[in-house]
């Protein structure tokens, strides 16, 4: 039973990582081809302040995106999960519909909405909410809008699936035992949907951290994120070993912080105490 899973892991996770790991200790020739001579130079460059600075910035963007997705996604998912089965399914399809269109095309569509003479300014202008068109496009705000838009479904879906399993009996029982709405929410609903929240946070945070297309398209490529830097190494700068070293350090950071998160006392344990 385990074999297909192991095979999948080896082919698509272990093997590419191994190649990346080997490359990260290599150097390159003038054309950018890999030269197999051992070197630690790539790793010493990773810890250059300029790249650390970019990593911190990317972390900031990813955290903010995750927080906003959680604030927007949680009530949405919870609302969906509490509907009748028929409506639930329809709402689920609505969340999925955007995936039928390429992510890039949807991001380009935001240019039409955010540009100076775009939809957003037209609507705001006609309702007299703003006096002059606001420059939305090519700002950090545009990048945030693009990131939240792209990843909010990844927050909604796992929370939905754990909220769906949440039995109404438990909520009623809590009420019967005298808990107010806030108490029910914090001691019953949140702990029981915690697995969904955790999955959603990981599913949003990890890809946002590596994202490069949104900051290029909606941010005007003004402010580099770590994803842009890595992509540049593989294409523009033609320095695959350095790109590989960045990728390895990046993955290790994730693995370590994920491990630390897992060690924290878990919600459900706190709830049963």
């Amino acid at each position: 039973m385990l074999t297909p899973m192991v095979l999948w892991l080896v082919l698509f996770a272990v093997l590419p990582m191994a190649i990346l790991f080997v490359y990260s200790f290599c150097s390159r020739d003038d054309l950018g081809r890999i030269v197999f001579t051992f070197s630690l130079e790539n790793y010493s460059r990773v810890f250059d302040p300029r790249y650390l600075h970019i990593m911190v910035r990317s972390f900031g963007y990813a955290s903010a995106t995750t927080a906003i997705c959680l604030i927007m996604g949680y009530p949405t998912a919870y609302f969906m999960a509490r509907r009748s089965e028929k409506i639930r399914e329809r709402l689920l399809v609505l969340v999925m519909i955007p995936f039928w269109t390429s992510f890039l095309i949807r991001t380009y569509a935001w240019i039409q909405i955010l540009k100076g003479s775009g939809l957003l300014n037209t609507v705001l202008g006609s309702t007299h909410l703003i006096a002059a068109p606001v420059e939305w496009l090519y700002t950090p705000a545009a990048v945030m809008i693009g990131l939240v838009y792209s990843f909010v479904p990844f927050m909604i879906l796992p929370i939905f699936s754990s909220a769906e399993k949440l039995s109404n009996d438990l909520i009623e029982a809590a009420h019967d035992l005298g808990a107010g709405p806030l108490r029910v929410f914090t001691t019953v609903i949140i702990p029981l949907t915690a697995p969904g929240i955790a999955a959603g946070v990981v599913l949003v945070f990890v890809p946002t951290m590596g994202m490069f297309a949104v900051s290029d398209i909606l941010g005007g490529a003004q402010v580099p994120l770590i994803g842009n830097v890595i992509q540049n190494q593989f294409l523009q700068a033609r320095n695959w070993p350095f790109g590989a070293a960045l990728g390895i350090v990046f993955t290790l950071l994730f693995a370590v912080s994920y491990g630390l998160l897992q060690r924290r006392p878990r919600w459900d344990r706190a709830a049963s105490a």
């Binding site: 970019i54 540009k115 490529a221 540049n232 523009q236 700068a237």
Partner: protein, 341 residues
């Protein structure tokens, strides 16, 4: 079980028979995005029966990275001049069999024997152009002559430039009175304060379609590929194209055949097709860069030839030369500057 195996076997036999029946001639093309009209590719297949597998890239560096990764074998590639030079030096391009390219005679002499291919034995020029300044004269009324006039505080937030590190460094080199290929580490470092100043005023870095921001009215000035400027001028003559007073370089995109190509005959046939006057004219119609094909130029309309972005006043101009590892220093410089904005 045996039935299943027999069915599978017969399916495999049928499949292989199918593939044998298909015309085996094809050519694997690796070219820039937005550069070869579909009409031209279809016309070639219709005439010769050779299928064209078309894959695209959006920078010369990307093209080289993918070609060197060896994951695919291409028969015709379309590198810019300095990438072609590096590929020739590394022995990765095949000598062309010029007797198979009778239409090479259409190319104007000034585009032959250029520094990237001095013996003219590996490449054929496809399109050429410059990188200059576009001004929306409806909004910007003062005269713009060079980079100095573009990167002014009064234009802050109204400028788009190519998101191409080497290009940006080149413009700064010209501002210092240096030339495009004066890329010593000291000279690159000297461009730092200039670019730092310029970057404060730039709203968008975009190599793929800088004309979009200008058309949308989100910016009024641009430093862009001449072909993009020519399209803007066609759409609205308020978009003027200016050759920067500080200096300008010329780029030549070429077509060539990699050493590892497997369809060499078809590749030659395809290249010669591109060189035909009427085919090359169609390319100019769709992508109005400077056409090095003299016979095709004679087929262009007076309006096309009068487009100042497509056919700026002639002049001896630098072309980029192969730079090797210097690209790393340039990449670090630009990353630094964008980072500290």
């Amino acid at each position: 079980m045996r039935v299943l195996r027999r069915t599978l076997l017969s399916a495999i036999v049928a499949l292989s028979a199918c593939s044998a029946a298909l015309p085996s001639s094809e050519v694997n093309l690796f070219a820039w995005t937005e550069y070869i009209p579909q009409e031209v590719i279809d016309g070639f297949t219709k005439e010769t029966g050779i299928r064209v597998n078309y894959e695209t890239f959006s920078s010369g560096e990307e093209m080289m990275a993918k070609m060197l990764s060896g994951s695919a074998s291409y028969d015709v590639v379309q590198p810019p001049d300095y990438i072609a030079e590096a590929l020739i030096q590394a022995g990765l391009l095949r000598k062309l069999e010029t007797q198979r390219l009778p239409h090479l005679a259409n190319i104007l002499p000034e585009f032959l024997h250029m520094p990237h291919d001095p013996t003219q034995s590996y490449t054929v020029p496809y399109m050429t152009g410059t990188v200059g300044i576009v001004v929306n004269t409806r909004v910007v009324t003062e005269p713009i002559r060079g980079f100095k006039d573009v990167f002014q505080p009064s234009h802050a937030g109204r400028i788009v430039v190519l998101n191409d590190n080497r290009e940006m460094v080149t413009w700064a080199l010209y501002s210092l009175g240096l030339r495009a290929n004066d890329l010593s580490p000291e000279n690159i470092e000297r461009t730092r304060p200039i670019l730092a100043q310029w970057f404060k005023f730039v709203r968008v870095f975009d190599s793929d379609s800088p004309k979009t921001e200008l058309l949308n009215g989100d910016v009024d000035l641009g430093v862009v590929w001449s072909g993009e400027a020519a399209i803007l001028y066609q759409q609205d003559p308020k978009f003027h194209y200016i050759i920067p007073a500080e200096g300008v370089h010329e780029f030549v995109d070429v077509v060539a055949i990699p050493t590892q190509a497997t369809h060499v005959a078809e590749a030659h046939e395809f290249i010669d097709y591109l060189l035909r006057a009427e085919v090359s004219k169609k390319i100019s119609d769709a992508f109005p860069y400077t056409n090095p094909n003299g016979a095709a130029r004679r087929l262009l309309s007076a309006a096309q030839l009068a487009n100042p972005a497509s056919y700026p006043p002639a002049g001896p101009r630098d072309t980029f030369r192969a730079i090797g590892k210097t690209s790393q220093q340039i990449d670090e410089l630009v990353t630094d500057l964008k980072n500290s904005r």
